[in-house]
Symmetry: C2
Subunit: 381 residues, 2 copies
């Protein structure tokens, strides 16, 4: 099997991650922060270490500003719903995933906020000018996808962060597809809210997400319950990060994420270079095939690439790749409807390739060969 | 180490659970419901099988009525916030955990609902009359803890369910401490909303919860995002269970839960009998020790027992049990403040023992011996 669906979830997971999860069931089996016994404390210390490592990796203000969630979707919901300013205005981009769009349009449909959608005018990047023109006096938040999960289009988050800082607007970055292979530093890049899904670029198990926030954000919990703090109080405590993490933490997932993070730190340059090389090769070779349309701009060599073969439904191409070649890719719409509108692929969808550390040159050349054959078969006349 | 903190999280996890999680990383490594390739479909089928097994185990209406959440807290938040009827009235019991109380008092503080708290009048069980007297014409929901996490007090959910059914009131049961050793059947017991934490009584890893609901409940999502359905739509879809499960499912946790469920089904009677026997023994023996106050009524032999030794702070007793005897128990307040008020232990807290399948007679006798020694040492005069 050739697995090229790593933007859905990375596969395989590194042995270091699986080993750490197995270890967690033995060494860190208690509930951290819930009991005072030594086994619980040992587990809590391990969790705190990983929180610190995540904090350092993303340049967050402090470990208290790093919140463990169930996934990137909960992180984005907490960021958007938890910072909502009634009667005001948010800007997002047409690259956003439904995990951003749906919370935004939920708030919009309740009459709480207005939303503007910024689109890349030059079809290669989301730039500062694409965003700036939508700013008005009510704008308090800009939600910006870092790398599109459809075609790998990047946003110039350095410049957009600077703009937000100057204008006093909060800056939310959805790093679901960039964490682990793009440099991200909340402090340097003026990011106020950073959400990502460790099971993708950090090779963690599914079931853990991160939201980090700066002290500029007045964040309110969206989930209420036991926090291991102020047990006597029937009202939600205010101490972070616990007040945002009601309920038992997913220790095995957090420990798996910790191991994944170390794996990524050790291999960061290698992953980044691999994505750049293999995406560039893939883009170049697919673009040469007659009837193949590549949607990914060559400048966005980020491990994600979308294409179609003529007018063949993307699902049909994916099915042939799976059945005949054993190549797993995603097709159809990728939970980012505004992006598909930009690309004019709402009907056809796209065939999406997404890579990981484990993707090889050989796998990419096999894919290229398969696409050539499929195209030739359908359009031999 | 003697681990008697299973109400916080069960430890150890059965080898079947750990093996299943390891298998999941190899056999079910794709994202279920997100892609059309065979690896994703295989994963989705496995997830669907487990959803059906959970449905059968709890007597839910259909697998579509079984929602995977990140934990019991999210399940209870979804149940309470997602079924909120503005201007109306909810009854809960003084046995509730903060995971019920805090969402309730959040809604209350926003002026959305009124809350009444029912207390056991006979100090042994929560009975129908304790609840019934609080019902008024605005009551639409009764939230009932099945077994108290503090002292194992049970609620007569059969009778309360019947009452709710007759009055047309929705019935929410928090089965966090009863699942896996008490018979629960939503259909027979007229339960409309059932929430539980599989990492306790189903020996699952942390990071997975269940909310099941009947078609009587008009449930709204509290989290918005990608569902793998209606990808084109920026509004949250209405198809269940996906509309409540935005974001990538925690496959390893779900598969671990499936293995835990099978483990419990095979050992159900054994676990139930063990809890009854060992709790009865423990209650009887501790009650005989001078200066020891047992808070658990002998009729509630549910694997959970709270006590104190004289006026020694519960944390101090727990610390001695840990340091001198290697016995891990929880002390202080157990995230159920109204219960501690009932027990008059808001200051002292309680020392709580909680059992699992793996708890042995020998461990319980060692605990009894330790408590005798601690009591004798403190009160030798």
């Amino acid at each position: 099997m050739i697995y090229l669906d790593n933007s859905a979830t990375s596969f395989p997971k590194p042995k270091e991650v699986i080993n750490a999860i197995n270890q967690s069931f033995i060494k860190y089996g208690a509930n951290p922060g819930r009991s005072g016994h030594s086994f619980s404390i040992k587990t809590a210390i391990k969790i705190a270490e990983i929180r610190q490592e995540i904090c350092d990796f993303i340049g967050a203000e402090s470990p208290e500003n790093v919140i463990f969630t169930s996934g990137c979707t909960e992180a984005l919901n907490l960021a958007i719903l938890g910072s909502c300013q009634k009667g005001k205005h948010i800007i997002c981009t047409s690259n956003e995933h439904n995990s951003v769009l749906r919370p935004l349009f939920e708030l919009n449909s309740r009459g709480l906020i207005d939303v503007s959608v910024a689109t890349s005018t030059q079809n290669d990047k989301i730039r500062i000018n694409d965003i700036a023109k939508h700013i008005n006096e009510k704008t308090y938040l800009i939600c910006c996808n870092h790398i599109s999960n459809v075609d790998g289009m990047e946003a110039d988050i350095d410049a957009i962060g600077k703009l937000c800082f100057e204008k006093g607007i909060l800056f939310l970055v959805d790093a679901a597809q960039s964490i682990g292979h793009k440099n991200i530093n909340m402090f340097k890049q003026r990011i106020d809210l950073l959400a990502f899904s460790p099971h993708k670029g950090l090779y963690a198990p599914q079931g853990i997400g991160i939201l980090a926030y700066s002290s500029k954000v007045k964040l309110m919990p969206i989930k209420f319950g036991g926090t291991g703090t102020e047990s006597i109080n029937v009202e939600q405590p205010k101490i972070a990060p616990e007040c945002f993490e009601s309920g038992t933490l997913a220790t095995p997932n957090i420990i798996g994420m910790g191991a994944g993070l170390n794996f990524v730190i050790q291999n960061f340059t290698k992953i980044n270079e691999k994505f750049e090389d293999l995406t560039t090769l893939l883009n170049y070779e697919l673009s040469k095939i007659k009837n193949v349309k590549v949607y990914t701009h060559p400048d966005n060599a980020n491990g994600i690439l979308s294409f179609n073969i003529g007018d063949i439904p993307s699902n049909e191409v994916a099915e042939i790749l799976d059945n005949k070649y054993g190549i797993m890719v995603r097709s159809g719409l990728h939970c980012a409807p505004l992006k598909h509108k930009d690309l004019n692929t709402l009907q056809q969808g796209t065939v999406r390739i997404s890579m990981s550390y484990y993707t090889t040159y050989s796998e990419i050349t096999k894919l290229i060969k398969a696409v050539k054959e499929i195209s030739a078969k359908f359009y031999r006349k």
